[in-house]
Symmetry: C2
Subunit: 340 residues, 2 copies
């Protein structure tokens, strides 16, 4: 697919979905729409991903596209009316529009009419399937080996670690797939359920369904975790994924030097070793799984400090660790695959 | 309020909401609709609750009523078309109709039209408010003392224990309120949010909102827990309540001799002492709380066996315990209130 990414005024720091697609997606990105950076190119801002011109709007995208992807996840998840011209323009060109907003494109009358007139699709990645139900507690029976990324907080690198591990496994010839649980992962894989949007009774069931689906296609699954088991707001989502996926092994993701829950600074993050134990204790009643590796986000440290931080982290969780972006996910792949 | 309860073919075993209302509700129940038991009286089947005639349908309810309550929670939560005549009849008499089904009465065109014509209301107890959002992690700041019932399984007595403890506290002169989180509790209290129907991102937030609401009205809150932290399908709901409510103390509910998760017989329930520890470990990162008392459902045991089972349970969890229905919730009230 040839796609354009809409990221107005947010690229790259607050355009997580767009950066994920540029880094891990199979689609060809022909343009990035950011009215504040028009004239630049993607690699001026993010060096290690596919390159593309940045333009100010859909009318400046000269090549044909199959889809326009809203590459931002704004707080609150609403549709920003300043994006309307671009969405309209894309639909008028016959391109699909893909979004992971809480507000659904398909609830917008104008977009529905235009999509209908131009024979294209509105795809809301966060809309859960209608036929979800409670889990059967059967995901442990799949033939595939299942590895779940878990974290000590939100935005601690679970999505990135999931995709880096899958890529490293494929490089080693392993038939590895991803089970995405959030909008960026879903956009990259063109598959998945945004589990935080599922009613709480059915959340584990949604994860179980995806694991059973994908286990039929791959030998090894890397399941993208969400939130953290000790997060005051999102721990329910995390727990549902842990028990719905019934993983064989866990990889713990942490941000170096983060010692309080982001946005909840009054809630300290427990020591990482204790945190790993808590995940294992919580997995136990449903399907035992050990924390076999760690992924540390060292983005804010220099190279020396990063290396030392990774060593301390590995020691604390008593398992091999790395920063899968700064260093290489292959360093923890064997552990994640249960080979160590 | 004067109410009739619809429980066709399910009274009393599978009519949990109706039995809850008969036992704990403030409303006067003037009739119970069960076509298979017409002619009997409530106390022929449940001895220790308010009495009422059982009739075969709404047309046999002679006294005026303010509302008809669907007193069943069928598997799947659908509306059974054999109830339609009764609902229609109630609306035509100007009575409200109250239900806790997954399927909403207010989505039924005929019911909406009749309610409109007869100036009465359709109340769907499981419909979450539209304006829910993520939790702020602030429930621990309320002035009220907060006690949460938690369990080793679904249907282990959390709702019953919650209401029995609140009643015992009031008898002792304590200004106690209930925070209901399921349809029966909501029907009894005429207040509350069915948390299992809330999208998973907002579940802790829904609980936090209720705790903060009700803490403004009462000195002590008994929060009704749901599911179990080691339940393969519902653990996410349980965790969201634990972290959203930030309770001061926990009361652990268990069914005597139940050693596997109901409906998930391949998932054993861990020893109750370990289970209590797991709840405390999971509470810890967000807001510490100890299991200070136990409530054991001994319904299936004779009196001698029940006494012995309660003793063993108390020893295993290292806290006072009772069966709040067979014996008396006041036996664990002091512990629940943190006085011991």
């Amino acid at each position: 697919m040839r796609v354009a990414l809409l990221v107005h005024e947010t690229f790259p720091e607050r355009a997580k979905t767009a950066v994920g697609l540029l880094r891990y997606g199979d689609d060809e990105v022909v343009a990035v729409l950011d009215r504040t950076l028009a004239g630049d190119r993607v690699r001026d801002h993010v060096p290690d991903v596919q390159n593309a011109p940045i333009v100010s709007g859909i009318d400046d995208v000269e090549e044909p596209i199959d889809a326009l992807v809203i590459g931002i996840a704004p707080i609150g998840g609403g549709f920003d009316e300043t994006w309307r011209d671009d969405v309209r323009g894309a639909l008028e060109r016959g391109a699909d529009v893909i979004a992971g907003l809480h507000a659904f494109l398909a609830d917008d009358e104008e977009f529905v009419r235009l999509a209908d007139e131009h024979d294209c699709e509105l795809r809301d990645l966060r809309r859960p399937p209608d036929d979800l139900t409670v889990s059967d507690g059967t995901a442990s029976e799949v033939d595939a080996d299942v590895v779940l990324t878990v974290g000590t907080d939100c935005s601690s690198g679970k999505m990135t670690t999931t995709f880096e591990l899958a890529a490293a496994a494929r490089e080693r010839g392993v038939d590895a797939g991803v089970v995405p649980t959030g909008q960026t992962g879903i956009a990259i894989e063109n598959y998945g359920i945004a589990v935080d949007r599922v009613i709480s009774d059915f959340t584990a069931g949604a994860v179980e369904r995806m694991v059973e689906d994908r286990a039929a296609e791959y030998d090894v699954l890397f399941v993208e975790g969400q939130g953290a088991i000790g997060h005051p707001a999102y721990s329910g989502v995390t727990t549902s994924i842990l028990h719905g996926a019934m993983p064989d092994r866990l990889v713990l993701c942490h941000v170096a030097d983060r010692d309080a829950v982001h946005g909840y600074e009054h809630v300290p993050i427990p020591p990482v070793g204790e945190y790993a134990d808590l995940y294992e204790s919580m997995a136990d009643p449903v399907a035992s799984a050990d924390v076999v590796a760690g992924a540390l986000n060292t983005q804010r440290l220099d190279d020396d400090a990063a290396g030392a931080a990774v060593e301390r982290f590995a020691e604390a969780i008593d398992a091999p660790a790395t920063d899968p972006v700064r260093f290489d996910a292959s360093e923890i792949l064997s552990a994640a695959l249960g080979e160590e």
